[in-house]
Symmetry: C2
Subunit: 189 residues, 2 copies
DNA sequence: CTGAAACGTTGACAAAAGTCAAGAGTGGGG
DNA sequence: CCCCACTCTTGACTTTTGTCAACGTTTCAG
């Protein structure tokens, strides 16, 4: 699975092979079973993950037990509680594999070391940060304004993968609507 | 107004006075009238602003003309379309002064120069990025799950300034509810 | 100061979405 | 490969929120 990560990095930064090997060896491969948690709310996130296979749900849980998904991270994407990871603050979110998954994990300490040793690593971090931020801003702008129907339409246009690959229950938790409403909306499209 | 920015920077980075002067001189002071736009959707954001006084509304506009506010940036905070600013992409958002305001503007070219010349500048940028990201994540997690009443309660707890300082219409556009609903909710609290 | 334009409040009604329940369908762990 | 737990769908009903309208209040630009 390290090849997925290697390809990702090769495509993005200039490098020499020694450095690339160094970077790759800082990552640990980890299999995650369906339903298994990678991070619990309240925990301080110590790892940055590259999802090599599968899908990780990022969600919050209310007192009533309702779960709301902020994001689904598929293969070839990064996953971490960025703010908590950088500032050693407890996470408010949970990470859970919703498919059998494989992640490449780098510990915070190694991550810091890499940032100092490999300048391009810093660049990648900033790219991830900027990209994640842009995605989240987009999500706020879209969803505060739209009703249930338009949210589904938006998802069909911008994230069809979420609709086709995940259960209605999960999709509904991403859209902030009930599964029943989602079911009815899909029926009349 | 440059003193506001100077205090902000002094409080955050180690420096020598020559560097600080260099940094400050890269900024241009600009008065913004109430209602005046600092950025139009579709435009590429060329500046990073430090709001020294007043309040800038960050919002999107739907085809129907409905405006939804993603953020209100008060004095002592940074304002830019981060993704578009960094990647020279058109903005989807508008920036508008909702109070008579004063901003300190730094052009993208100067910004890049400062990042190279003053290492701490890079740190500040990353801080802003991480902070903005965290805020936006918080907003998504909160609002997708909550109904109108709980959104208002959340705002009272976390952003009372928005409630007390801005008009009901603006607050409603931030909460994603109608002004009438907000008015009714406030009446029975 | 002042008046026009925007804003806030309230009521009546309509539309959207949630809740609860029950039965059919499905998928993945053993 | 099969069965059980979970999910999906549909219906009936309730609750929440939006919309439209009317009118009083505020605000700020000239």
């Amino acid at each position: 699975m390290v090849d997925t990560l290697e390809a990702y990095i090769r495509a993005r930064i200039s490098h020499n092979d020694t450095q690339l090997t160094d970077v790759l060896s800082a990552f640990v491969t980890r299999k995650v079973r369906r339903g298994e948690m990678l991070l619990q709310a309240g925990e301080v996130c110590q790892h940055c993950y590259f999802v090599a296979k599968g899908c990780i749900q990022v969600f919050v849980s209310t007192d009533g037990g309702t779960e709301t998904s902020r994001d689904f991270v598929f293969e070839n994407n990064w996953l971490t509680d960025i703010y908590g990871f950088a500032n050693q603050q407890p996470s408010q979110e949970f990470f859970r594999a919703v498919e059998p998954s494989v992640v490449m994990a780098i510990h915070r300490d190694q991550f810091g070391r890499m940032q100092q040793q490999v300048p391009q690593f810093e660049q990648i971090y900033r790219q991830i940060l900027e990209q994640s931020y842009a995605t989240t801003v987009y999500r706020v702008n879209t969803f505060i304004a739209l009703d249930a129907l338009d949210r589904v339409r938006w998802l069909m246009q911008h994230q069809p993968r979420i609709l086709s690959r995940l259960s209605n229950k999960l999709v509904a938790s991403y859209l902030g609507i009930s599964p029943e409403t989602l079911s009815r909306i899909k029926a009349r499209l």
